[in-house]
């Protein structure tokens, strides 16, 4: 703190001369083209985009990444360490860890994306309705949201899933995925509701919305034409990051034995299956955990890049 530049950092500068010429020039262009201009200059955006494409390809065409069958088990090779033959080694059942990690991408990403989609629809809809109609509807929706927020995430998921699909039960593949998706959305919607609600409340008082209403535009038209586009930017940022955290949450639930379970192939299940063998076969757990973390990182980075571009004042 002894160098003089630190003081200068502390001081708000003369703003107008530096800012105004630039602002004037950009003033005419839209939010999205501005955002794109900033985005395309950011390294973090390109890195996360490449990673995203890799993961999406992995989810869509796992055979591009491995020729091995993720189900093929050679018990003799159980928990064999990584070798030239199998880069990531073999798991408890003697299956190829790498192949299973590759095939696990699909489940995790489907759950993450669909749960986010459900959250956005549920939260966005309730948020817009609460903000637009206000009064008692707003009060009811806000209170119900508070009740769900009052349920800490892990706890809420444990309670619901622990009952609907207890650890020892064995529901079908599609059923359990659907249940996990619904649970994630059910616990996550209030945050999105709040984001949408405050964005719409802000927009609602803008002159142009008032004008549209005065000109006789109906509520549906106002909501879809004028209000929803306004809440799009914050919702987009939040949901990108949410995909990442839902993928992590899905794995956490699988770890607890109440999320996805065999025969579904997912990172969370691979981690859960080998958590007790961490001393003898750490590879069987840490490689899927690595895939999982990288995938979450991809969505978090992407979301942050977009947010920074939409709100550049904080950089």
């Amino acid at each position: 703190m002894s160098d003089p530049t630190a003081t200068q950092d502390l001081i708000k500068g003369a703003d107008e001369p530096a800012a105004s010429p630039v602002a004037v020039r950009n003033g005419q262009r839209g939010l999205w083209s501005d955002t794109w201009d900033i985005l395309k200059r950011r390294k973090i955006f390109w890195i996360s985009l490449v990673m995203l494409i890799v993961f999406l390809l992995m989810a869509a065409f796992p055979s591009l990444f491995t020729h091995k069958d993720p189900e093929y088990a050679t018990l003799a090779k159980s928990m064999e360490l990584p070798s030239a033959d199998a880069w990531f080694g073999y798991d408890l059942q003697g299956r190829d860890v790498y192949a299973r990690a590759v095939y696990g991408a699909r489940t995790s990403i489907i759950v993450g994306v669909l749960a986010t989609l459900a959250t956005v629809i549920l939260g966005g809809l309730t948020g817009v309705l609460a903000a637009y109609f206000g009064r008692w509807l707003d009060a009811v929706i806000s209170r119900v949201g508070e009740m769900f927020l009052g349920l800490p995430y892990v706890l809420g998921a444990i309670i619901i899933l622990g009952t609907v699909a207890p650890a020892q039960s064995n529901p079908g593949k599609a059923t359990i995925m659907a249940v996990v998706i619904i649970v994630l959305a059910l616990l996550g919607w209030p945050i999105l509701m709040r984001i949408a609600r405050s964005a719409v409340i802000q927009a609602k008082h803008q002159d142009y919305v008032q004008a549209a209403r005065a000109l006789g535009a109906g509520p549906l038209r106002i909501i879809f034409k004028h209000l929803l586009p306004n809440s799009l930017a914050p919702i987009l940022v939040y949901s990108t990051i949410t995909i990442g955290s839902y993928i992590g949450a899905e794995a956490t639930l699988s770890l607890l034995g109440i999320g996805l379970r065999s025969p579904v192939i997912s990172w969370g299940i691979a981690i859960a299956d080998h958590a007790s063998y961490i001393r003898t076969a750490p590879h069987a757990m840490f490689f899927p955990a690595g895939f999982l973390s990288l995938c979450v990182l991809t969505f978090v980075m992407l979301g942050e890049a977009v947010r920074d571009a939409l709100d550049p004042k904080l950089r």
Partner: protein, 343 residues
């Protein structure tokens, strides 16, 4: 003043005025290019004197003031040249710790928006008392007593009861008084007021200007009054420096400028003040926009908006022509401008 400072700047031992800004250049580096905010500004203030610096936003008047205070944001700001002499010593060459001691003690500043300039989470009395505690090592109790005295001096009613109130609990005018109390706490020799009344109601504006003028008279401070409003300065200023595009385009004793401006820009400013005797006439407005600091016009920066423009205005930047000992104008055709005024 601390000993170090009084040694270095024995008062009265230098020839010039108390504070002299000499050919100051300040730039801002932005992504879009270098913005030249201040281009060779020169002005001076002596004890007991009031200088009004007049200009639109972006004219460089505030940047100059911030450079004097040493609170310019660097980067993006950069001092590209010039000197700022306080009692003959160039502030820009002083090390930071000595510079810091001059802030508040020697030169102090009142900002435009007192609500954001005062710290929202500390009581106003505490914020005034901090000056005494940090600069003079005064005890808490003693400093608080002095803070109340100061609040009395700037005429805050019931100062004793309000000393523990927070900034948001005061009205705009009262807040600005607290800002002023804080600035004059240590009897500075120079007070810079940066648009001190812009955020206030018209009636309150006059009170604040009156207070500033009174305080200045009482303690013989040099006052630099930065404003974009010619109407505000007429009663209090001794001299005026009009800035445009980061330069001084005219400086003059206040009476001379009001009577007969010597630069087309000052003339335009004067004519755009609504006046009772001009009732029925259309209100005058200077045409065009302030210059883009990233792409300054060639020659005279004012030429795109100037009714006196000739060809050489586009190519040759006018120097500050001397009109008389105390007057100057940066216009090739200042004679014409003055002549137009005398009819």
């Amino acid at each position: 003043m601390t000993e170090v400072l009084s040694e270095q700047m024995g008062s009265g031992s230098h020839a010039g005025a108390l504070l002299e800004v000499d050919n100051l250049h300040v730039e801002f580096r932005t992504r879009a290019g270098v913005a030249k905010a201040v281009n060779g500004v020169t002005y001076s203030v002596d004890a007991g004197e009031t200088l009004a610096v007049l200009g639109e936003s972006g004219s460089g008047k505030s940047v100059t003031a911030q450079t004097i205070m040493g609170i310019l944001d660097m980067p993006p700001g950069k001092i590209a040249g010039g000197e700022i002499r306080f009692r003959g010593v160039d502030l820009l060459k002083l090390p930071e710790d000595q510079r810091r001691k001059i802030r508040g003690e020697g030169i102090s500043m009142v900002f435009q928006d007192a609500l954001s300039a005062l710290n929202p989470v500390f009581p106003v009395g505490w914020q005034i008392a901090e000056m005494f505690r940090m600069h003079r090592g005064t005890s808490r109790g003693e400093a608080k007593k002095k803070a109340i005295e100061l609040m009395d001096r700037v005429r805050i009613p019931a100062a004793k009861e309000r000393v523990n109130d927070f900034p948001h609990q005061f009205s705009g005018g009262m807040r600005q008084r607290i800002m002023i109390a804080m600035a004059i706490a240590l009897d500075p020799e120079i007070l810079i007021a940066d648009e001190p009344t812009t955020a206030l109601d018209v009636t309150v504006q006059a009170q604040i200007m009156g207070l500033l003028a009174e305080l200045q008279r009482d303690s013989n401070m040099g006052l630099i009054l930065i404003t974009h409003d010619l109407g505000v300065v007429a009663d209090v200023a001794d001299k005026i420096a009009v800035m445009y595009g980061g330069r001084i385009v005219e400086n003059a004793p206040v009476y001379d400028l009001y009577k007969n401006p010597a630069h087309p820009y000052s003339k335009g400013l004067l004519e755009s003040i609504p006046r009772v005797d001009h009732k029925g006439h259309e209100l005058y407005a200077i045409k065009g926009l302030p210059p883009n600091l990233l792409e300054m016009p060639t020659g005279c920066a004012f030429h795109p908006r100037c009714p006196y423009r000739r060809d050489n205005c586009v190519t040759d930047a006018p120097p500050l022509y001397t009109i008389s000992g105390t007057r100057g104008s940066a216009c090739h055709y200042w004679r014409e401008v003055i002549d137009d005024g005398e009819h």
